[in-house]
C-alpha cells in the first residue's frame, strides 16, 4: 500500500495541485508535486498514490553505497 516508485520530473505546471509529468522508465504519468514545492524538472521524486512524497537526494544515495565498500575494506585489515 505504501509502495513508492522513483521517477524523474519532466515538467511542472504551477497551480494549486502543482501537477507535473513524471517519467518512471518508459512510463510517464501525471503526478501532483504539491508536497515538493522546490522540485524542478530533472529532479527525482518518490511517488505514491499520485502524489510525490519527497525528493530523492543523490549525494545521500552515493554515500550509502560507498559505505558498503568501506565495510569490505575494514575486513581486509582485520582478516576473515
Amino acid at each position: 500500500m505504501c509502495l513508492g516508485v522513483p521517477g524523474q520530473i519532466l515538467d511542472v505546471e504551477e497551480s494549486a495541485l502543482r501537477l507535473g509529468r513524471v517519467a518512471f522508465g518508459p512510463t510517464v504519468k501525471e503526478v501532483s508535486l504539491a508536497c515538493v514545492p522546490d522540485a524542478q524538472p530533472g529532479a527525482w521524486v518518490v511517488v505514491h498514490a499520485g502524489l510525490a512524497l519527497e525528493q530523492l537526494d543523490e549525494e545521500e544515495a552515493r554515500l550509502m553505497l560507498e559505505s558498503l565498500a568501506e565495510l569490505e575494506a575494514g575486513w581486509a585489515e582485520e582478516g576473515p
Partner: protein
C-alpha cells in the same frame, strides 16, 4: 543514479550479509513494519541470507489487512447504492467483508472502479456531476497527504458530489501496542520508510527510549533491507536503543512539512479498530469537523453497519508477528488468493499473500 538497480546489487547484498554474520553474537528478533518490506524479504529470500540467530517477523504494515470487516461492509453498502461511483485502490476489491467483497457488488452491476490516486476519483467527480463519487481512503500516513489534498481541493472547488470513506491508520500507536504486549518478541524494528518520509522520525524517539528498542527507518530494496538489519543488529549488540535512518536519500528527520500541513488541515487523530488486533487509542486519522461534509460514512448513513470477522482467519496473530502464515491451518487450503478468509491473503502487501506467492511449495519450518 536510477535508485533501483544500485539497491538490488547481489554483491552488495552478500557484503551486507557477511557484515551481519560478523556482528551477531546471540539471537535477535527483528520486525519489519511495512508490508512492502515483507514482500521484498520473502521475494528475494533475504531471510535465508541471514545467520540463524536472526529471526525476521512480519508486522501489521499492510493497511488493507488491518481495515476492520465493519468498514469493508460499510464500503460495500455504499457501493451498492444507485447513483454511486465507488473508487478504490485495486487491493481492496477482493478483501472479504462479512458476506461478500467489492468484486461481487460490481458483478451485480454496481459502478466500482479501480483508481491509482484519490486525485483520479476527484477528476471523476468533476466530470460526472450527476454521480456521487466515493473514494475508499485506506492507508497509513504515506497515503494521508494525497487523500487530504483531494478533500481540500474538493472543498475549494465546491464539489458536492465527492466524499471519502476513511480508514486511515497511524504506525506509532501500533508499535506501542506490540511493544506493550506481554507476548512481546520484538527486539528491534525496521520502521516503514515511506511513512517516515511524510511524518519524519521524531515520533519514534520516545518509543525507542521507553521500550529500549532500536528503530531503524528502512527503505524497500534488498540492499536497503540488509543494511537496515545490520544497523539494528549493531545497536542490539552494542546495547543501544536509538532511532536511526537507513533511508537518508529520501527521509528527513522532520519529515515533509507541506505534507504534514495538509494532513493537519483535513484530518484529526482518532481511535481506530485494527482487524484481528482490536481497538488502539489514537491510532488513526478521521476527517475534521470542518470537512465532515466529505465523510461518506455520514453522507450515506452507514456508520452503524458492520459484521463480525471470520472465526477461521488468524490474521490478527500474523499481523502481530505471533504466527507465520504457513503455520495457519487454513493457509493454502481453505484460504487462497482466489478464496481468501482474510485480507492478509489477498492484499499485494499481505504477509499470507507473500508466502503463498513465493513459498507455498516449501515445507513448514
Amino acid at each position: 543514479m536510477k535508485y533501483v538497480d544500485e539497491f538490488r546489487d547481489g554483491k552488495a547484498a552478500q557484503t551486507l550479509a557477511e557484515a551481519i554474520r560478523r556482528k551477531v553474537t546471540r539471537p535477535w528478533t527483528l520486525m519489519e513494519v511495512c508490508g512492502g518490506q515483507t514482500h521484498a524479504i520473502v521475494r528475494f529470500g533475504l531471510d535465508e541470507l541471514l545467520p540463524k540467530a536472526i529471526s525476521l517477523i512480519h508486522g501489521p504494515g499492510c493497511p488493507v489487512c488491518v481495515t476492520p470487516v465493519a468498514l469493508i461492509d460499510q464500503g460495500l453498502a455504499i457501493a451498492a447504492q444507485p447513483g454511486v461511483t465507488f473508487c478504490s485502490f485495486g487491493d481492496m476489491l477482493r478483501v472479504p467483508g462479512s458476506s461478500e467483497d467489492l468484486f461481487s457488488v460490481k458483478s451485480r452491476g454496481a459502478d466500482v472502479r479501480v483508481v491509482y490516486s484519490p486525485l483520479d476519483a476527484l477528476a471523476l467527480a468533476r466530470e460526472n456531476p450527476d454521480r456521487e463519487v466515493v473514494f475508499f481512503a485506506v492507508g497509513f500516513e504515506t497515503t494521508a497527504p494525497a487523500n487530504a489534498l483531494a478533500v481540500s481541493q474538493a472543498k475549494k472547488e465546491g464539489l458536492r458530489n465527492f466524499s471519502i470513506l476513511v480508514s486511515h491508520v497511524r504506525v506509532p500507536p501500533a508499535l506501542e501496542a506490540i511493544l506493550a504486549s506481554p507476548r512481546r518478541r520484538v527486539d528491534a524494528f525496521l520502521a516503514a520508510g515511506h511513512v517516515c518520509s511524510i511524518m519524519g522520525m521524531e515520533e519514534y524517539t520516545p518509543l525507542a527510549a521507553k521500550h529500549c528498542v532500536p528503530i531503524v527507518v528502512t527503505a524497500f530494496e534488498p540492499v536497503d533491507l540488509l543494511q537496515g538489519i545490520l544497523m539494528c543488529v549493531a545497536q542490539l549488540e552494542e546495547g543501544r536503543a536509538e532511532v536511526e535512518n537507513q533511508y537518508a536519500r529520501l527521509v528527513k528527520v522532520g519529515g515533509n512539512r507541506p505534507a504534514q500541513a495538509l494532513i493537519q488541515e483535513v484530518f484529526q487523530v482518532v481511535d481506530r479498530t485494527w482487524r484481528g488486533i482490536g481497538a488502539i487509542p489514537d491510532s488513526g486519522f478521521g476527517l475534521r469537523d470542518e470537512y465532515a461534509e466529505f465523510d461518506a460514512a455520514r453522507r450515506f448513513r452507514v456508520g452503524d453497519i458492520g459484521g463480525p470477522e471470520s472465526p477461521d482467519c488468524q490474521s490478527g496473530q500474523v499481523l502481530q508477528g505471533f504466527l507465520k502464515p504457513p503455520q495457519c491451518p487454513a493457509f493454502g487450503k481453505t484460504c487462497t488468493p482466489d478464496h481468501p478468509l482474510g485480507a492478509t491473503m489477498v492484499s499485494s502487501e499481505g504477509a499470507c499473500a507473500a508466502y503463498y506467492r513465493y513459498r507455498r511449495f516449501e515445507p513448514v519450518g
